[in-house]
């Protein structure tokens, strides 16, 4: 039996995977396409389709997130406009690199290697952030202070009385845009640290601005890939059906669970994603099917583990249970 040109098993798989990703997106405000694109690569989709479909999925998921933030006043439109212009240019550059590499037959390898490095780097950073002390947190503010002290015109004042160089914002947006177009990621897991730790934007404003910006750049990225027929609508539709529900569950969990309690799991998921892509590449290079299986297990296992930890922690909090064996795992 087929639905939307996919087997029923695949549809169930994509909806379930979308649900897990939606929980992560709703809870952390990031964590969408950097799992989807590697998963599609691992499942054998061509790199251009994996990246294009990843961007289209990010667009759809961020629309849902943006709708939720719309009335909460958690958006700095000045910051969003500068970031959007810079990222749009960056995405175009990243996309051209992907199609150039595709013409040389090296796209799959290079995108996979870049994923391994980026996921590992952000995973290590997040793990470090999860373990850092108050003293280390003051270092983060110092970084933002240093960036804000750079008087490179034009200077702009953002919400939260943050005064920073528009040129620096543009440069950050450009780099993240190139990565977004190249890897098919929305940029949330790069934008959030950049805005909070780099520019010193308050967390709530960073989340709202981030999601609005990802909506716009995701639409542009999806459009450019769709022009080349590199978006699989059935895959995106199935993933969105799950993520829309998951995003509600994840957003609800933020009212109950301390993000820092889960951050270690999130870092582990990023690192698992990095190992999964590396495993898949090695499996393909040496013809070892077992490594491909390991890769799939790691990607789906990590998403299940972290989203499960979020839901479990929320349920434990709802029931006022902090002493049970499972609850202690998520609240300690």
């Amino acid at each position: 039996m087929e639905v939307l040109g996919l087997s029923l098993l695949l549809v169930v798989l994509f909806v379930g995977f979308g649900l897990l990703i939606g929980i992560l997106f709703g809870f952390f405000g990031m964590g969408g396409s950097f799992l989807v694109t590697p998963a599609l690569l691992v499942m054998g989709y061509p790199s251009t389709v994996a990246v294009g479909s990843g961007l289209a999925f990010v667009f759809g998921t961020s629309v849902i997130g943006a709708l939720r933030h719309r009335d909460h006043g958690q958006v700095d439109y000045k910051l969003a406009v500068i970031m959007t212009v810079a990222m749009t240019i960056g995405i175009e550059a990243g996309k051209r690199v992907v199609f150039f590499l595709d013409s040389t037959g090296m796209a799959d390898l290079i995108i996979s290697v870049a994923y391994v490095g980026l996921l590992a780097a952000v995973g290590v950073f997040t793990l470090h952030d999860a373990r850092q002390s108050d003293e280390a947190q003051s270092d983060g503010r110092t970084l933002a202070d240093r960036v804000q002290s750079l008087e490179i015109p034009p200077m702009v004042t953002l919400r939260g009385d943050v005064r920073v160089s528009a040129s620096i914002i543009f440069a950050i947006g450009l780099v993240i845009g190139v990565l977004s177009g190249f890897l098919g990621v929305g940029g949330g897991f790069l934008l959030m640290p950049a805005m909070m730790y780099g520019l010193g934007v308050p967390a709530a404003i960073a989340v709202g601005t981030d999601i609005l910006q990802i909506t716009i750049s995701g639409a542009f990225g999806a459009f450019r890939y769709a022009q080349l027929g590199a978006v699989s609508l059935p895959v995106v539709a199935a993933l969105l059906a799950g993520s829309a529900l998951g995003a509600r569950i994840g957003a609800g969990a933020t009212k109950l669970v301390d993000e820092d309690a889960i951050k270690g799991y999130f870092a582990a998921m990023l690192l698992a994603g990095s190992v999964a892509v590396a495993s898949k590449e090695l499996g393909s290079a040496y013809g070892l099917e077992v490594l491909n299986t390991v890769s799939i297990v790691l990607i789906f296992g990590a998403a299940i583990l972290v989203s499960g930890a979020v839901v479990l922690a929320a349920v434990c909090r709802l029931r006022g249970n902090k002493s049970g064996t499972w609850c202690r795992l998520t609240t300690s």
């Binding site: 459009f223 769709a226 022009q227 539709a237 969105l240 829309a244 529900l245 609800g252 909090r317 709802l318």
Partner: protein
């Protein structure tokens, strides 16, 4: 000929992005209605305290 092909590709791309946008909005509204309808029942089933009155994300 090239221009026509580009136009066709752009129209297909606009349709693709429009379909994704339409599905996202429909899902947002649909799940919102669902959360309003069964959210309280789900929380009762979990055995929630009063602190969790809006954890299904209903608007």
């Amino acid at each position: 000929m090239v221009g026509f092909e580009l136009f066709g590709g752009s129209m297909d791309a606009i349709t693709t992005v429009g379909l994704v946008l339409g599905e996202a909005v429909a899902l947002y509204v649909g799940y919102g209605v669902l959360a309003s309808a069964v959210g309280a029942t789900v929380l009762d089933t979990i055995g929630a305290d009063t602190i969790g009155s809006d954890t299904t994300g209903g608007e």
